[in-house]
Symmetry: C2
Subunit: 205 residues, 2 copies
DNA sequence: CCATTACGCTACGACTCGTAGCGAAAGCTC
DNA sequence: GAGCTTTCGCTACGAGTCGTAGCGTAATGG
């Protein structure tokens, strides 16, 4: 019996422009001052809104940064490059490019760190970042199966577990290389990584 | 002409017991309140020392947490389990166990996040955590080569690059599984991961 | 036109920060 | 032991941030 999907709330609607400005200002502040010194008051000033507006929409710094960072990862896509190896290399290079941006580096790792003590935050990260990008793994696998590069999966549950594993290996390796080892994930590194991922340590062509 | 290695400073020496108590108190605080709400005043109280003592020894929260967390990783070792696969599974399980501890989770990720904007901090992390554990990769490879499981390396530079790659893949995958995906890295997962690492995605036995 | 909600602004107590200054303690050298 | 040096515990401080409350105004829908 509802007219539409809860969009029909009375009163003045929230400004969409404000949301855009706030998230952009958050990323700007992440670049300039980093996560630990980022204050909501500063973000509000940069965005040209009142501090109270910020608190009305987000419960705290963590939630705000998650939303600001999540937008960065939505540009990932998986163009068909003809082979599984080329597909992997392509998407990994995109991921590397995103992680090279300072707002992604400091923001992402910080909220992940905070999420170890905050279940709601972890769930927010999972929904808005992690699960959204797992599609790339599924897409790549299905393409490789059509090409005959990978065998079709038999057990669907096993297939889901493998997809999760691949996602952790790929994303984890890139993040670790970029942030912890802090060395460039250039094309050469991506090629080596892809080779190991496809052939393993023992399988040298 | 120095009596010993710069240990011969005049004046009252710094209490070694205080350092131990401070680092332990830091880990305790990481468990109870997490990184963002951890205050140096609280740590000082827990350790039973004055806040000023803390500031005399560490320049800030980041440096303190790095030292407190670094001690956790020193217990990693690589017992000879007879095969490369078994060796990898063993050390990965140890790593998983350490990362399961809340003080390791929140502390490590937080300082890594901060290090994206602080070169000195990144170098401190590298020296006290990352490089210290790369020995495990080198040790495992050399053992596998003696067993004939891996070919001897030809180019030493290429060998170093590969070792770095392996380290990023292993550590990154475990960290991502544990912290970002936030799902258990149990024995079954470790077995699957080891299989992919050794045989690759294509190589199914 | 009226109810309802969002907005901008100001002000507030509570808290943490990092530092300074002090007297006392604990080592070394002579 | 005397004297020097450095650390330690304690107290106090201004500066800055936190998250919230209160108010008048702006923008929607019925």
């Amino acid at each position: 019996m509802q007219s539409s999907t809860s969009t029909a709330r009375p009163g003045r609607p929230r400004s969409a422009a404000a949301a855009t400005a706030i998230l952009a200002a958050t990323r700007e502040a992440l670049v300039e001052v980093g996560w630990s010194k980022l204050t909501l008051g500063d973000v509000a000033t940069r965005a040209g809104v009142a501090k109270t507006t910020l608190y009305r929409r987000w419960s705290g710094k963590n939630e705000l940064v998650v939303d600001a960072v999540a937008e960065l990862f939505d540009e990932l896509e998986l163009p068909d490059r003809g082979s599984l190896a080329a597909d992997i290399e392509g998407v990994v290079l995109q991921f590397v490019a995103i992680l090279a941006r300072p707002e992604a580096k400091s923001g992402l790792m910080a909220v992940v760190a905070e999420s170890t003590r905050d279940d709601a935050l972890r769930e927010r990260i999972r929904r808005s970042i992690v699960d959204r990008q797992k599609r790339l793994v599924l897409q790549g696998r299905s393409r490789a199966q059509k090409r005959g590069e990978l065998p079709p999966e038999t057990d669907p549950e096993e297939a889901a577990r493998t997809a999760d594993l691949i996602f952790d290996v790929v994303a984890g390796a890139v993040v670790h290389r970029t942030l912890v080892s802090a060395e460039p994930a250039d094309e050469e590194w991506v090629r080596s990584f892809t080779r190991v991922l496809l052939l393993g340590l023992t399988g040298d062509s």
